[in-house]
Structure formats: structure tokens, C-alpha cells
């Protein structure tokens, strides 16, 4: 099953990945990261198709994608 991992300390909560993920896999977390942002988290891992779109639009190199 395709899968993404998130290096949450790099995330700046810009929302681009959430917006462009074709499957609605991602969403903002409640907690703060060390930079003071609410980082993206994987809300629906089962939906991920490993398309790498999140990784591509992420300006902060947060994602690793596995297929």
C-alpha cells in the first residue's frame, strides 16, 4: 500500500499539500511543531495512492513517498 511519511519539524503549514492531494489524505494537526506551526499530518493513510503530488508541491521537502 502506498504511503507517505512526514518530517513534521520541517512543515510550515502552508496547506499546499492538503489542497492538492487528489485523495484528501492530508490535514492540519492540532499540535505545534518546534517552529510554532500546526504541521500537516496524514489523516487517511488508507486513501493514499503514492502519486507524489504532495511531495512535489511541498516547498519544504517534508514528504517521503513509498510505493
Amino acid at each position: 500500500m502506498p504511503k507517505v511519511t512526514i518530517r513534521e519539524e520541517r512543515c510550515k503549514a502552508c496547506g499546499l499539500c492538503i489542497h492538492y492531494c487528489p485523495k484528501g489524505v492530508l490535514g492540519p494537526s492540532e499540535k505545534f511543531n518546534a517552529k510554532g506551526y500546526h504541521p500537516t499530518e496524514v489523516k487517511h493513510p488508507e486513501k493514499c495512492i503514492g502519486c507524489t503530488i504532495c511531495a512535489q508541491v511541498c516547498p519544504d521537502q517534508v514528504f517521503e513517498v513509498y510505493r
Binding site: A13, L16, Q56, D60, F63, E64, Y66
Partner: protein
């Protein structure tokens, strides 16, 4: 299934250092950074690459690229690139400039490097603003756009017109390849990467000067949400700066 047994289909490029950068949330610079890293990996040129960091929001590029780098004075990246490449033609030189850097203070340098068709690749980040200094008018600021130094909106009568860099350079004989792209959507990002790859490849083939202009969102200084900013790139900015290939000598033949 554990990640070990899976194929990693995306991770941070090896040509980038694994450390966070200082770009604002959603900034286009960050996306282009990934693209450059991916391509240096793909083309296998990391060990002869030299990155040029301009003065602007991308001033710290040398902390993000994991290859040799030089920091250039404001506007002078094309001259520094010329010096590097003339000194050692084996180097793979990636020049990177913002719109204030390239189209204001560095106008003469980019025009003459392009006119001499110096054999390096320029990535030109057009975000219609001086990002790093806090949002002053850039040569590329749109008419009517407010900025720290056009508080009443850019007025062509006093502040001039948005400078279209691809069109300007296209009036010279020197450039080999000129294209304007953006990174507003995943599809745009694919095209942008293709364009930059072409520029890099031409350099490796010794073809001469290439420039890829990237319309790039600056949510911070545009005073917009990230999502509004990518929309604005496509819907507003691209009106003044039409996307497309302006020159491709490789295709003429």
C-alpha cells in the same frame, strides 16, 4: 507494509542538504529548490555543479544545495557565473536570481551575459516583488499592485511598466533558450521541471545561455493566503507574463 520493503518514490534530493530552509510558508522558492535538487541528481552533475546564490530571499541557497556554491553581490550573479564558467568550463553553473536582482540592479549583467551567450543556466524567480527586503516594488510588479514603495499602487506614469524579461532577452541574438513557467499547481510544476531540465541539458551540451523564468508566489509580501497566492499567479500574474517558450534554438533545427 513497512517502508523498508517499499520503493521510495520521493524523498529529499541528494543534492540538497537535509536541513530546513527559511522560506516563508508556501513560497515558490521552496518548490523550485526541490526541482533543482531533483535535476542535479537526475543529471548526475552534483560533483561538478556550482550554485550561485543571489541577494534576495534565496540568498542562503548555499546552505540548501549540497554542492559547491558562491554567494554573489546583488544583481551580479550573471557576472559571477561568467567568471566561473570562463575560468573553468567543466563546471556546471546554476545561476539563480530574483526579479529585483535580475531585472533592476542587474539589468546590464543579465543582458550582456545573455548577449554573449555565456554557457550557464539561469533560473529567474519572478515574484513581482522584492521579497527579502520586505515587499518593495520590483521591476515586475504589476500595474496597480500595492507594495511598500508603491503604497498607492504601481502607476505606469511614474513607476514604469512591468518588465517582461523573456521578451526583453528575446530581442537579443545570444540566448539559446528562454521559457516562462510557474509552480502554482502540480501540473505547472511538471512543466517547470521540464523547462529547467532543458536549460541544464543545453548547458551540458555547450549550447550557451538559457533562462527559465518562474512565476513564483510570495504570499508574505502579497499579503495573501498561500492558496490565494497560487490562484493569483495563474489568474492575474500570467496575464501580464504569459507562460510559454520564447526561444528554443534547439527546436529550430
Amino acid at each position: 507494509m513497512s517502508t523498508e520493503t517499499m520503493k521510495k518514490v520521493y524523498s529529499i534530493p541528494e543534492s540538497l542538504r537535509n536541513r530546513p530552509h527559511h522560506y516563508c510558508p508556501g513560497c515558490g522558492h521552496g518548490i523550485v529548490l526541490s526541482i533543482v535538487g531533483e535535476l542535479v541528481d537526475e543529471l548526475g552533475v552534483r560533483d561538478r555543479a556550482v550554485g550561485i546564490a543571489p541577494v534576495g530571499c534565496s540568498v542562503f541557497l548555499y546552505e540548501y544545495y549540497d554542492f559547491d556554491c558562491v554567494q554573489a553581490a546583488h544583481g551580479r550573479a550573471p557576472a559571477v557565473a561568467t567568471g566561473l564558467k570562463r575560468a573553468n568550463p567543466d563546471l556546471f553553473v546554476i545561476s539563480y536570481q530574483g526579479d529585483g536582482d535580475l531585472a533592476a540592479i542587474g539589468t546590464a549583467e543579465i543582458i550582456h551575459a545573455a548577449n554573449r551567450s555565456e554557457n550557464f543556466s539561469t533560473i529567474f524567480i519572478n515574484n513581482a516583488i522584492y521579497g527579502m527586503t520586505g515587499g518593495q516594488m520590483a521591476p515586475t510588479t504589476l500595474l496597480g499592485q500595492k507594495s511598500q514603495t508603491t503604497p498607492y499602487g504601481r502607476n505606469p506614469n511614474t513607476d514604469g511598466f512591468p518588465v517582461r524579461v523573456c521578451e526583453l532577452l528575446n530581442s537579443l541574438e545570444g540566448p539559446y533558450y528562454l521559457e516562462r513557467v510557474c509552480v502554482a499547481t502540480p501540473q505547472d510544476r511538471v512543466k517547470a521541471k521540464k523547462a529547467i531540465k532543458k536549460a541544464f541539458t543545453y548547458q551540458l551540451e555547450g549550447k550557451g545561455f538559457s533562462l527559465v523564468e518562474v512565476l513564483s508566489q510570495c504570499p508574505t509580501n502579497w499579503g495573501m493566503s498561500v492558496l490565494d497566492s497560487v490562484k493569483w499567479v495563474k489568474e492575474v500574474m500570467a496575464q501580464t507574463f504569459p507562460l510559454g517558450v520564447f526561444r528554443d534554438k534547439g527546436q529550430q533545427k
